[in-house]
């Protein structure tokens, strides 16, 4: 069964819950996407871009010191932090912006939380010569200043969002409003596997290069598939990218959400673990909400995970028990962040450090013959200032 179905549904999740003004645009987007997906010239151009501009394939790195430290399973890190721009986000943006160009769209708009997707969109737009505008919550602008500077330098205009909680969910709202107003000329480049159909499918497809490479690389190195693939989950794009090619295999897939100050508090970003079924940003999915359906504010030390919703396909995979949903709290995330830096000489993004925090608990429990692949979704230079601020307090 291919998912999503023609209505964009993954079981009861997904779909298109958007104002009427967007319906025609979504239909057009899906038609164009399907057309270009099968188009050799488009695929060649995209492959070329991924290889020569993004820097793919990224290494599957055997973390020898980390493995020895835990004394358990073999740990491999998929180095998405080595992508151009510093995170996996660019795999998706080059795909979408190239599609926008082929569709004759004149303008790219995007939302961003941590700023990585905003930067990745600005990068793709600069390369493909399209004007770019990014919506970012003022809370996020404050904690990820370097990304704002990068976007400006790349030629993108950053619109501060001051409504609601001033974070990612509000940036998405504002970008949707822009799209509704400028639907004919503008292409909305969504950063994760969220939103109305066809976005969750399209973003997953573009990010699946991660999982396809992992498969090839691990088979070459170990002659077999991994036992576990672990990834952090915010909206879910790096997780779906890593997981998707393994869905039919005997591989345990683990998504690690942000437990923030603890799942027992109201200060976390864990809709898979603690959310309920609802409708947000165009799709049926699990989200953090009160009894009346008002969306709750999320919290995470990692801006890129600070979202009260999650991609509908991940909600589906949780419901069908294909993935295990774990979480990591802020303090243990920071410890894992520092551990990787000192043990392997790699500074991970705080988002990716959530997966690492879980790894520190899992790896020691497994026999040495077992293989874990962890998707290192991004690098952590952007996080150094805010970590430092925390230490000083």
């Amino acid at each position: 069964m291919t998912l999503p179905n023609e209505h964009g549904k993954f079981g009861k999740f997904g779909g298109k819950l958007v104002p009427e003004t967007l319906m025609t645009a979504l239909k057009e987007l899906e038609e164009q996407y399907r057309h270009f997906k099968e188009n050799d010239s488009f695929q060649r151009e995209l492959s070329d871009c991924l290889k020569n501009f993004v820097g793919r394939p990224t290494p599957l790195y055997f973390a020898e010191r980390l493995t020895k430290k835990f004394g358990g399973a073999k740990i491999y890190l998929k180095r998405e932090d080595l992508c151009h721009g510093g995170a996996h986000k660019i795999n998706n943006t080059v795909g979408q912006v190239l599609l926008a160009k082929k569709m004759g769209k004149k303008r790219i708009i995007a939302e961003t939380g941590a700023g990585q997707h905003g930067v990745a969109t600005a990068i793709a737009a600069a390369k493909l010569d399209l004007p770019c505008e990014v919506y970012m919550g003022t809370e996020d602008i404050e904690r990820q200043k370097m990304n704002v500077l990068r976007m400006n330098l790349l030629g993108a205009k950053v619109h501060p969002v001051t409504t609601g909680s001033k974070t990612l969910k509000d940036a998405i709202n504002e970008t949707m409003r822009d799209w509704v107003t400028n639907i004919k000329t503008s292409f909305y480049c969504i950063g994760s596997v969220v939103g109305p159909h066809p976005y969750p499918m399209m973003v997953r497809d573009f990010q699946s290069i991660i999982g396809r490479e992992i498969k090839k690389e691990i088979l070459a190195k170990e002659g077999r598939l991994p036992d576990f693939v672990i990834a952090c989950v915010g909206g879910g794009s790096n997780a779906m990218g890593a997981f998707y090619p393994f869905l039919q295999d005997r591989v345990q897939l683990i998504g690690v959400e942000a437990a923030g100050k603890g799942l027992h508090t109201k200060k976390h970003s864990a809709p898979l673990n603690k959310g309920t079924f609802g409708a947000l940003h165009g799709a049926y999915t699990y989200l953090l909400q009160d009894n009346f359906g008002q969306v709750q504010l999320s919290h995470s030390v990692a801006a890129g995970l600070d979202y009260p919703g999650v991609g509908p396909e991940l909600s589906y995979l949780k419901k069908s028990e294909r993935i295990l949903c774990a979480s990591a709290e802020d303090e243990e995330v920071i410890r894992a962040f520092k551990l990787l830096a000192k043990t392997e000489g790699i500074i991970p993004a705080l988002e990716s450090a959530h997966a690492l925090a879980y790894l520190t608990k899992l790896a020691p429990t497994l026999e040495q013959e077992r293989i874990i692949v962890l998707n290192l979704s991004g690098r952590g230079d952007k996080d150094l200032q805010s970590i430092q601020k925390r230490e000083v307090k």
Partner: protein, 262 residues
């Protein structure tokens, strides 16, 4: 046939357009909402759209976003909105306008039945397209609740026909591309849209135009383009927030006068 359809029929016979104001339940407070609702009916409005505020109103511009936010800060809930409707039901016909997650969490059947009990006779859910509306459509049909869908300038004729078959009460035409929010002028595309929809609809359903209407002149133009009704939200909320209820009354009376067909 409920009071919504009756209102359109009655007004048409009197050569008058239907005036439909929108206010957010609980903005600035429950008591004020009730007061405003009563005054609006006293001023001659025909149908009241009562918004149940939602934390993430993607179809709304800054005025209604702020209005929703105020209402939520003051503790507005779905239950309280039902109470407000119940208090106003004897003053005139009411429709609820809200985002889909709200009735979804309440329970669709429970929501439709409770709303009906509280005197609400129509539902407008801007983020629910016909493709996802089958369950709600059936519930509304069973409970004589009008299900009012939105039609945009981007809706092609084939889709328009499909939407019309699922709609009841009236068709909500979005006057121009964008979110809610008062605009300076009525766009040419509004005239074209009204004509196209009337052509396609063939009188099957009354047509009300909303988004951006902010002056009596707009109302006059839209009624004369052939629309059966006019919806006014942000401009009204601005008047309420920035002025007095008296100023609001004067504004609404002027709007109502402008619904007379030439």
């Amino acid at each position: 046939m409920n009071r919504i359809s009756q209102t359109f029929q009655r007004n048409k016979a009197n050569n008058e357009g239907v005036l439909i104001p929108f206010i957010t339940a609980g903005d600035p407070s429950i008591t004020e909402s009730i007061k405003i609702g009563k005054k609006l009916f006293d001023c001659g409005v025909d149908i009241l759209e009562l918004g149940i505020p939602f934390s993430d109103p993607i179809a709304d511009g800054p005025t209604i976003q702020a209005s929703s936010h105020r209402a939520l800060q003051n503790g507005m809930t779905t239950e309280k909105a039902m109470d407000i409707a119940n208090t106003l039901k004897n003053h005139g016909p009411i429709v609820f306008m809200t985002y889909y997650n709200i009735p979804l969490q309440y329970g669709l059947t429970k929501f439709v039945k409770k709303a009906k009990k509280c005197g609400v006779e129509g539902l407008i859910i801007p983020d629910l397209p016909i493709e996802e509306a089958e369950e709600l459509y059936q519930l509304c049909k069973q409970n004589n609740m009008s299900l009012i869908f939105l039609v945009a300038p981007t809706t092609d004729n084939q889709r328009l026909k499909h939407i019309t078959t699922k709609s009841s009460g009236y068709l909500y035409l979005i006057s121009s591309l964008g979110t809610t929010g008062a605009r300076e002028k009525v766009q040419l595309e509004t005239k074209k849209l009204i004509e196209r929809v009337k052509d396609s609809c063939n009188g099957a359903l009354p047509i009300a135009v909303g988004f951006g209407i902010s002056k009596p002149k707009h109302v006059e133009e839209i009624i004369n383009f052939g629309a059966d009704g006019v919806i006014i939200g942000s401009a009204l909320i601005n008047k309420i927030t920035n002025g007095s209820l008296t100023k609001m009354e004067q504004f609404v009376s002027a709007l109502k006068k402008s619904t007379k067909m030439r």
